[in-house]
Symmetry: C2
Subunit: 160 residues, 2 copies
DNA sequence: CGCAAATCGGACCATTTTGGTACTCTTTGC
DNA sequence: GCAAAGAGTACCAAAATGGTCCGATTTGCG
């Protein structure tokens, strides 16, 4: 399914939410509540994001997190990379040094590069600011089930 | 890492190999050997591919698999979809009927559509024929370790 | 006919990854 | 110096993944 891990999913949701209120500091608890993500998870992700330099953190009482740069200057790609490493569909490509010595058997290799690049580009073209503005205003084609997915599920499981 | 599962990875390698020799029938064993994938795995994948209508299968002695259409008419996207379901990064989007009712909390939703579309398009633009031709002729920047990755590993493990 | 070569369609298991939690330490504002 | 916040890290449980095996069915061919 080529799906993103929840870490990255959550991470983007949180970043997006932070980008919406450019209030300088947000405590982990605030962000977690806003994004409907269990606090421990949110905390973990925020830490990673801070370590990656996408968020600036203030310790101590009255501390919290804030975007390290303008929302326009942070791309979706960066958030994903921070949370799940380099963007690459195949292990062939992975981190540069190809681990696949059987090119003669795998002519696909070079072409994967193309695909990977296309995806990376797509991800790099969208900034958190863009994610935050949401669609012009309409509510999209109209959606079905009202229950929030992953987020609300884990939310329920928490107290249970 | 947004990585593809090995199923899809293998699947594409096998399809690519079949596309290279437009010989009509290939037995699962042949394909597996050609692609350096353990037979049981290959078999499993081929079955899925056949069920998805990308391969035509002939049973019985002298049977085997063949591309259901011209290599030009089969896209990488199709192979991936056949092996791991719809292409969607987030569960929000998934299969059309959005499962995420909290749009107000998740303005990101609409924008994900854009990203997903971009990726889908990239994957749909490449046919198996293109994958098969490989890069013009050069061997790429030159690769490190000579051992074939995953494929050869599992290959070793087989007899052991 | 009947055997052998193939695919088909499952179930099945082990390992890895992922999602999620907990606990302790450090920093800092008041 | 106490309380609120993040940092770091270790840990666990559940799910997905990669991989194997087996029995049934089909079909070519001697």
């Amino acid at each position: 399914m080529i799906r993103l891990s929840k870490l990255a999913d959550y991470g983007i949701v949180m970043m997006t939410n932070m980008a919406r209120h450019p209030r300088r500091q947000h405590s982990a608890a605030e962000i977690a509540a806003e994004s409907h993500i269990p606090l421990p998870m949110a905390s973990k992700i925020l830490k990673s994001l801070a370590r990656a330099g996408l968020l600036a953190s203030h310790r101590g009482a009255k501390g919290g997190y804030g975007l390290a740069r303008d929302a326009e200057a942070i791309t979706v790609a960066e958030v994903i990379v921070a949370l799940e490493g380099p963007i690459a569909l195949t292990s062939c490509i992975e981190d540069g040094r190809g681990e696949c010595g059987i090119e003669s058997l795998c002519p696909a290799r070079a072409n994967w590069q193309r695909i990977n690049d296309a995806i990376r580009r797509a991800l790099e073209e969208i900034s958190m600011a863009e994610m935050a503005v949401a669609v012009p205003s309409a509510f999209m084609p109209a959606i079905g089930p009202p229950a929030a997915r992953a987020a609300s599920e884990t939310f329920r499981n928490r107290e249970a």
